[in-house]
């Protein structure tokens, strides 16, 4: 079973990101579950969301404590939340940032970065102060992890997202191409 934990802030779309990823894996014939952990329900508050993917039915319904992969939708969370808590060392962390993977010292196998905020804004997703980065970061995730194909992410976006589908798909494609990956 693959366990993915998303860290975002309210309004960035972390919960929808976990749903799109689950839907994409489901379309590829996998068993999945996706669920949020809401803190306070307001914009800007830290939000955690989880996706599980497996080749057999998933029964466990706890939160994810030892994720294989961590996706950080907001760079500022790195100083506010222990985003790598319990993470597996052979895991992958993907961060929305202007920085490069080499700038991070996380003790995990794969570190990836993408400027998802810039890509989202270029495609008019969200506002300058609150870009909606979930679909861009999923394009980057597909490239960095290889867990699902970009094509499945695009199909899942069309299924889950109700408006601005073309812009969201274009963001995912652009992030897929521009993600930077460093493997130890």
């Amino acid at each position: 079973m693959l366990e993915v934990r998303f860290h975002g802030r309210g309004g960035q779309g972390a919960v929808i990101a976990s749903e799109i990823l689950a839907t994409a894996a489901f379309m590829e014939g996998k068993y999945v579950s996706s669920f949020p952990y809401f803190g306070v329900e307001r914009r800007g508050a830290p939000v955690t969301a989880f996706t599980r993917i497996d080749s057999k039915p998933i029964r466990v319904k706890t939160q994810i404590y030892n994720p294989d992969h961590v996706v950080v939708l907001d760079y500022s969370l790195i100083n506010a939340v222990n985003v790598t808590a319990g993470m597996k060392r052979e895991g992958l962390i993907l961060i929305n940032t202007v920085k490069n993977p080499e700038d991070f010292l996380f003790d995990v196998k794969i570190i990836a970065t993408v400027n998802a905020s810039e890509i989202a804004l270029k495609h008019s997703l969200g506002s300058h102060s609150a870009p909606i980065v979930n679909t861009s970061i999923l394009g980057a995730y597909a490239a960095a992890s290889g867990v699902v194909s970009l094509n499945s992410i695009k199909k899942a976006i069309a299924e889950v997202v109700s408006r601005m589908v073309d812009e969201n798909v274009a963001s995912a494609e652009e992030a897929y191409k521009s993600v930077k990956v460093m493997k130890k």
């Binding site: 839907t23 489901f26 998933i58």
Partner: protein, 395 residues
């Protein structure tokens, strides 16, 4: 056969259940984390996919009052609520069951404040135990959808005619997306024929409902019929579950689900979605050579005491997990299980935890199983205890 699989949250599964059951009237008031059930139904109706009528009301008390009135006219009704909303409905819950109206309601289990909490525990529904409603607790989103369809079949049975709560855990089911198979409408229509009660409000055939009765009159006899209906429901829930399997290929055990009880000496009794995680824990412990098993109570009312006594009678020890409390004694499920096993030598211990949405981890469940094994060997140390409190190093 065409299978339609969709990624659904527990709440959307619930809305799909109501749609497939061809509910005629929905009256509801939104409350977190139930809101998306009624939002989805409103969307279905706005899109013309759902023929039912949606009544917006100003409170849960009115939602149930509207359902009662609609159901009295002989149409299938549905509502959904949670937590404080269910508590506000309390007076009307008695009316719905007393008037023998087979209303089906989705309840999303959420803690009752204060302190304020939007997260899951079963305190809200356990507190409504004595309102005369059948209570079905579900484990996953597929079961939420299937249980709503089954609920109408059970509730509308002439030997039952009682309202049913189909209960799902907040967030753990309500906001979790899982693949869910949507049954074909034609098959659901065959399983669930149009509701046509013998007695209803009809200007052509005037009748009185809910009149005053004197102490010498039929009040007690009327309530006794409610008791009989609950006893009847016990078998009918099991029968409908088997019938559902014949028609749709899925079965949940009716009133009780048994998991790996073959040769199990130490058994945990549990309700709700935590059973799903507990099954993984049972598998792990079985692989380590421990003879543990799991019983999931689906129907808390009626309480399947006969079946449960039969299932548990020769076990070495039994533990009961309650995700709710009744201050002053052990949990409600614990007291029911222990009284069911009265007179047998099996030690029964209660565990209370997971309140206000506190995660019930595999680690905690494993410790509970080890404690059940321990009381099987050493005898019982205390009747019940709270598990997973901050700072309690034992748990």
């Amino acid at each position: 056969m065409i299978f339609m699989m969709k990624m659904l949250t527990g709440n959307y599964a619930s809305a799909w259940g109501a749609k497939l059951a061809r509910v005629k009237v929905v009256a509801a008031y939104p409350i977190t984390p139930q809101t998306t059930i009624v939002e989805k139904i409103a969307e279905f109706i706005a899109n013309g996919e759902f023929e039912g009528r949606y009544i917006r009301v100003e409170s849960e008390h009115s939602a149930m009052a509207a359902c009662i009135a609609a159901e009295n006219t002989g149409v299938r009704t549905f509502t959904a609520t949670s937590s404080q909303g269910l508590a506000l409905m309390h007076e009307m819950l008695h009316w719905a069951s007393g008037a023998r109206l087979p209303i089906v309601m989705s309840v999303v289990n959420r803690a009752l404040g204060p302190p304020w909490s939007i997260w899951s525990d079963q305190q809200d529904t356990i507190s409504q135990r004595d309102t005369g409603w059948i209570q079905i607790y579900t484990e996953n989103n597929q079961e939420v959808l299937d249980s709503i369809i089954m609920a109408y079949r059970i509730a509308e049975n002439e030997n039952v005619l009682l309202p049913i709560m189909v209960i799902e855990d907040a967030f753990i089911l309500s906001h979790t997306m899982e693949p869910v198979e949507i049954p074909e409408q034609e098959k659901v229509d065959m399983f669930l024929p149009e509701y046509d009660p013998r007695y209803k409000l009809d200007p052509a055939v005037p009748m009185g409902f809910g009149s005053l009765v004197m102490p010498e009159g039929p009040f007690m006899e009327y309530k006794f019929k409610g008791q009989e209906a609950m006893e009847n429901a016990m078998n009918i829930i099991d029968e409908v579950d088997m019938l559902y399997k014949e028609n749709f290929g899925r079965s949940y055990g009716g009133t009780v689900e048994e998991y790996r009880l073959d040769g199990a000496e130490n058994v945990l009794v549990i309700m709700g979605s935590v059973a799903s995680t507990a099954k993984d824990v049972v598998d792990k412990l079985r692989n380590e050579g421990k003879n543990v098993g799991l019983v999931r109570i689906r129907s808390f009312r009626p309480f399947p005491y006969k079946r449960l006594r039969y299932i548990l009678k020769n076990r070495k020890s039994v533990g009961v997990f309650d995700r709710s409390y009744t201050f002053g004694y052990g949990g409600a499920l614990f007291t029911e299980v222990r009284s069911t096993l009265y007179g047998l030598s099996t030690p029964v211990k209660g565990y209370i935890g997971g309140l206000g949405g506190r995660d019930i981890t595999t680690g905690l469940l494993e410790k509970i199983f080890m404690d059940i094994i321990r009381i099987g060997n050493e005898g019982i140390d205390r009747d019940y205890e709270w598990v997973g409190l901050i700072g309690d190093k034992r748990w």
